[in-house]
Each structure stands twice: as structure tokens, then as C-alpha cells.
Symmetry: C2
Amino acid sequence: MNTTDSGYYVVIFSSTLRSAQLDEDSEYARTARRMAELAAQQPGFLSVESVRQGLQGITVSCWQDLAAIARWRQHPEHQAAIERGRQHWYEDYHLRICRVEKAYRGPARDTAVPGDTQQDGRG
Amino acid sequence: MNTTDSGYYVVIFSSTLRSAQLDEDSEYARTARRMAELAAQQPGFLSVESVRQGLQGITVSCWQDLAAIARWRQHPEHQAAIERGRQHWYEDYHLRICRVEKAYRGPARDTAVPGDTQQDGRG
């Protein structure tokens, strides 16, 4: 599945850390890496991207369907990490599960999904 | 509308800049600030959050409906900024328009939308 398609699902995880976890060997950093690695092994996983700026972070992971997201959420190692995050690492977080309705890529490969009428194109 | 609700829409804008635009007075930085300010004035706008780490950035904006997103996309000043971005600033970008199906907040205010059965709670 190409993620310029629509109809798949994304999980947007926006977080604020309690303190900057800059040490790449911190338990937080090690857990974050392990979760990215483990997520990528789950059935229905498509892709993940993650950006952090100081205490603020946004991670967007893409999944084939809601069932895949639910299964990943129930994974014992993930559950343990979620609980650890709630208790120790995050000041706040906001998790949104969303269905992708339309997707575009740019600037060179600016393609809309078929049927979209908002796209003005470049000629 | 509280963004722990569902049924609203998000635009996920993931981008890679051609070069680090660290100067806060660069045309890119000024345009990015202006677009955030202008977006917030549009009917149907709910919220925006943006994180950048080196060349990689993720911006998530929330909107009441698809019509609000389409109107903002058609705004002349926004159109000009999109074109400028395509031509000059972005190596690549990926824009996804999504419908929020479920939303959670944590860790202190860990609430699920009604009807969700994946939430295991904390006690």
C-alpha cells in the first residue's frame, strides 16, 4: 500500500515530556527505539515518522486498519511502555486515531488521489 | 469543540526542507509564522501544533470539517505560500487529510471517547 492512497489509518501521538530525554541511552530513548522496531514488525503496520523538538514530540504511525492499531495497543511490551510513559515520562499526551481521507505528495511528485477536486495542480 | 472528541478533521503535513531554515527572519520562517496566524483566523479552525527537528517537520492542524480545510487551501495568501514552498523550500512533503475516529488524552486526564472498548484504563 502506497501512503499517497487513502483509506488506511494513522495514529497521531503528540506528547510533552516532563524533562528533556536527550541521553540516547536513557530508559525513555531505549524504549522509544524498541517500540518503533516492534511496531514495524506488527501485522498491518505501514510506516512511522517521528519528530521531537525539545519537550514536544509528534509521532505519526500508519496502519492498514483499526484492528491492526488495536492489536498493537494490546501488545504486552507496548502496554508496559504505555504505562511507564504515563507514570514517568510524559507531562501530557494526546493520541488521535484517524482515517486518511485524502493524501498528496509534493513538491516534485504532487499527486492527488483520484476523484479529488481540491487539487489545483501545477500544469 | 474539545479535541478529545472525535468526528473533526486533521491535516498532517510532514515535510523535509531543502536546507535548515534556522534564521527566524528567513522568508520561510516568516511565512510559516504568518500561515499559522492566518490559519487560526479561518472559520472552522480548531488548533495547530508543529514540531521541527533539523530538516524534518510535522504540523498537525485540526478543523471542524472538510469544507473548512478546502477553504483554507484556497485562501490566496496560503496558495501563494504553497507555491513558494513547492518551488523553493521543500525537498519533499506529504499531506494527509484525515477524519478523527477516536482520541485520548493522558497521562493524568486519560479519557476515551464513549463507546471505545480498547481502552484498558488505570483503575
